[in-house]
Subunit: 269 residues, 2 copies
Amino acid sequence: MNKPPHVYLVGAGPGDPELLTVKASRLLREADVVVYDRLVSAEILTMIPSGTAKFYVGKAAGHHHMTQDEINALLVQLARAGKTRIVRLKGGDPLIFDRGSEEARYLHEQGIPFSIVPGITSASACTTYAGIPLTHRGLARSVRMVTGHCQKNRPLDLNWNSLADPDTTLVVYMGLGHLQEIATRLQHAGLSGGTPAAIIENGTHSDQRRCLTTLAQLPEQARVQVFTTPSLIVIGRVVALAKELEWRQTSDHEQAFAEILGQSIQAEA
Amino acid sequence: MNKPPHVYLVGAGPGDPELLTVKASRLLREADVVVYDRLVSAEILTMIPSGTAKFYVGKAAGHHHMTQDEINALLVQLARAGKTRIVRLKGGDPLIFDRGSEEARYLHEQGIPFSIVPGITSASACTTYAGIPLTHRGLARSVRMVTGHCQKNRPLDLNWNSLADPDTTLVVYMGLGHLQEIATRLQHAGLSGGTPAAIIENGTHSDQRRCLTTLAQLPEQARVQVFTTPSLIVIGRVVALAKELEWRQTSDHEQAFAEILGQSIQAEA
């Protein structure tokens, strides 16, 4: 009897291949076909066996990417074509600021069995690799994750009064393009301009860069230091611990990274 | 020359051993000594080679557990005793509702090199294994994580008005003991009693149980169905997707689990 098709919606985490889960790593080895996104790191893609079929469905500069409907249709098409282990690989976690739940719903409607494998989301991994805890006794007893992504040329649809909470660590995914609006609105809503804040570019990658600054200074620092996507924004008192909790310099595995980080810290001073 | 000591603060994730990161899995194999917590699953502990020294520092029923100061001192003592690969293994993620940042600070003060390895936090993995996305277009555009843990016999010190946001998925760690207070306060702050809500017990473990209910019904359901710790509470419209996104029944790997889940679903009906 033929094995039935199965789609695995798999989180690849933020980039460092060692942050893949054991399950994701196994599924990449066992896959018949891998359908992957723009935010999956090149190092992770090299872990896919050379004989495995690969489909890129992310946005390439200057090219139109596949729509969500087209991606949904591709997954179903692969399942109906008799592929039994279809891995849909996504940056970060499939169910946090991603369309994983929409893909899963479509597979459910089409009667195609699926599994979901969580990945470490950027809010957790990128901050850890930048020495920033999301919670810390006396500094933050709550974590808030929002996205700064919205329809083009429209203001962000966020509840600023609710976000301006000094006891909460606020993490903004895809917020680089709206930093001025974010910084201004949070201050107007009552959050101090002196609240510690950070920008983390290419978090967990070998070329990770971070900037430690304040809420008021975020937009200018992003401009002067030329931060680019993907960057994560972190706002809250926990950012003040980043110097003490910096560990990538001291690790015996990432010596090559220390020099880059050193330059970044000098740039902050 | 002797290798210098190094402490690895490692997140073990919520329980399923396949959700360990590749890095955590490697460090467990390479460790000289593992210092572990109450919330690290038994299956993960079996992955530690039999020759590796192990220290349990969690709370055992009826026994006094080690204080944070004692754990800090143990880590430093092991480093000074010449251990070069000291793994401090923690349930979930070391920097989310955990004392990982306090341990890292102490190691920094004592001049002992350390690294931090993020783990998948319960808010992400337990919801995924229960078929609940943390965000979904049109249902939740923000995620909030809080802890329901507080000093004994004292009310929770949370900003209920800020938490009562229908556009946000609210995840409460360690909230089982305060469910009545949580449900009442959120409703008083304006969140509808009909808001979908879930309790997930032993998330990602083979004996995971979940209850799909509403905010108003949370306390009674927890009592009637006898939920026990560790349980995660999820409140928000995304919980309504849990039936469609249920995947552990359909997975080809977890057939043994389907029966238990089936019983749980019948209990919900």
